[in-house]
């Protein structure tokens, strides 16, 4: 089912705009009126990262008149494998500013508004209010539920995309859509997954070009919504598999038993950064990377267990560590491999997985086990800056 155009057309296109957008103008479904709608459109992109990079570039090139960018982070070298809006000379710069400069080069007619802050429950509604459409390209569940709930409260449509390794998902959510077609993210994922069960791209990796595959679906949907053409993804989820090279579509319907959203909540708490068990276990059993170094230097007898995955162990490791992936500890399978006669020190990449494993070890009777807060990243930063980080 189609939807009416989201945006009224601008009064006119200049001669310069007619030249620039001519390949759009000669498509009957877009034409002058569609391009004028794009010119008048205000689109907010949350995150100038993997999905935000291609999305912003194509929205700008397409002639969306106003682009808002919410991004607090800075460009890191490890971003450049997929975040194509940023370049080598942008490393260390705020991503928002880097994205704005790229957009100016692609299309100087676009007005860019930067929000260099972390989106949270105190600012989301004020930022969203000025926009016709939102694109969600964030990288964590807490912000995903926040974006959904803020969009629901304001009656705004948004385009949603998410990626992991070789797979992506995309859809359009709009609780207030006309014709009773309304649907939101919670109709697809009513509750966040248990903390620690779903790896992030930083933990599990992502094929760089996947960002373009999903980002381009998101921009396609944005253009369709703004101009009112075609069949929007509202009520459908696209699941893309790059290895199979397949797109599967799932129909989604509104959940009639869903609780209405009445206010924004504490999303970090809602999604749980780590499980309660892990937080409790880590509370008085966390050492710093420097303390680990002191333990090693003083010749203390202990076992250092790296609970990451083998491919991560290949990238960088702390000298003397033994690899036992977290899942093998949680399942109990690896308990018999652990030394019983000396203290255990666990670590992972950043401290979340090792906290989960620590909780399991405390329960299994390894009461003295501790973990390294900040993991191998903290080790590389505080103890051995010559090591690569990822």
């Amino acid at each position: 089912m189609s939807l009416p155009p989201l945006v009224e057309p601008a009064a006119e296109l200049t001669k310069e705009e007619v030249v620039r957008y001519s390949r759009h103008l000669i498509i009957p479904e877009v034409g002058m009126v569609g391009q004028k709608r794009l010119k008048n459109a205000k689109v907010l992109v949350i995150g100038a990262g993997g999905l935000g990079s291609p999305a912003l570039l194509y929205l700008a090139a397409a002639g969306v008149g106003t682009l808002g960018i919410v991004e607090f982070d800075e460009v890191d070298e490890s971003n450049l494998q997929r975040q194509v809006i940023h370049g080598q000379s942008d490393i260390g710069r705020p991503k928002g500013e880097s994205a704005r400069d790229s957009i100016r080069e692609i299309n100087p007619l676009v007005e860019v508004k930067l929000y260099q802050l972390r989106l949270d429950s105190s600012n989301a509604l004020d930022i969203f209010r000025d926009y016709d459409l939102i694109l969600d390209g964030t990288d964590n569940f807490a912000t995903r539920y926040l974006v959904n709930d803020a969009a629901v409260l304001l009656g705004k449509p948004y385009v949603w995309g998410s990626i992991f390794r070789f797979e992506g998902q995309a859809s359009v959510f709009w609780a207030d859509a006309p014709g009773g077609q309304g649907l939101q993210y919670r109709d697809l994922y009513p509750e966040p997954p248990p903390p620690g069960m779903v790896p992030s791209c930083a933990e599990g990796g992502v094929l760089g070009v996947l960002c373009a595959s999903i980002g381009s679906i998101m921009v396609t949907e944005a253009i369709k919504l703004i101009t009112g053409i075609g069949e929007p993804l509202l009520g459908r989820l696209v699941v893309y598999d790059a290895l199979e090279m397949s797109y599967r579509t799932i129909k989604i319907r509104r959940d009639p038993t869903g609780d209405p959203i009445t206010e924004l909540i504490d999303y970090a708490e809602f999604c749980g950064a780590v499980s309660d068990d892990a937080a409790t276990a880590a509370a008085d059993s966390t050492i710093t990377a420097r303390e680990l170094k002191e333990m090693i230097d003083s010749g203390k007898d202990f076992a250092l267990i790296d609970v990451r995955e083998p491919n991560e162990y290949e990238i960088v490791r702390i000298p003397g560590s033994i690899l036992i992936p977290k899942d093998r500890i949680l399942s109990g399978e690896a308990l018999s491999e652990l030394p019983q006669d000396k203290p255990l020190v666990l670590h992972c990449k950043s401290g979340q997985r090792s906290a989960e494993a620590l909780a399991a070890l405390h329960k299994a009777g390894f009461r003295d086990a501790v973990h390294v807060g900040g993991g191998v990243l903290a080790w590389a930063k505080q103890v051995d800056p010559s090591l690569p980080v990822y």
């Binding site: 964030t138 995309g161 990626i163 109709d187 997954p193 779903v198 992030s200 699941v239 599967r248 319907r253």
Partner: protein, 82 residues
């Protein structure tokens, strides 16, 4: 008999995109999940812990919900990467 469709990590763990599962006429979503976990082992069992489930396109909130014969059950692991 219901049709179960697996996506992303659930597809990888089950080793196939969809299958028909023979469960009783008054079986619930929980029964169907037990049946597929038993069939495909620990890998799928782990993935199911994080999944969202859609029955005939509507998200499941109560796993005690009965499944109509011929229902479609989608098994959908979430991911939040961007």
């Amino acid at each position: 008999m219901v049709t179960v469709r697996y996506f992303a990590a659930a597809r990888a763990a089950a080793g196939l995109p969809s299958e028909r599962v023979d469960i009783g006429d008054d079986a619930t979503v929980a029964d169907a999940l037990d049946a597929i976990a038993a069939r495909h082992g620990v890998e799928l069992h782990k993935v199911l812990g994080a999944c969202s489930f859609l029955v005939d396109s509507v998200a499941v909130r109560d796993r005690a919900m009965p499944l109509r014969p011929g229902a479609e059950l989608d098994v959908l692991p979430p991911f939040a990467g961007g």
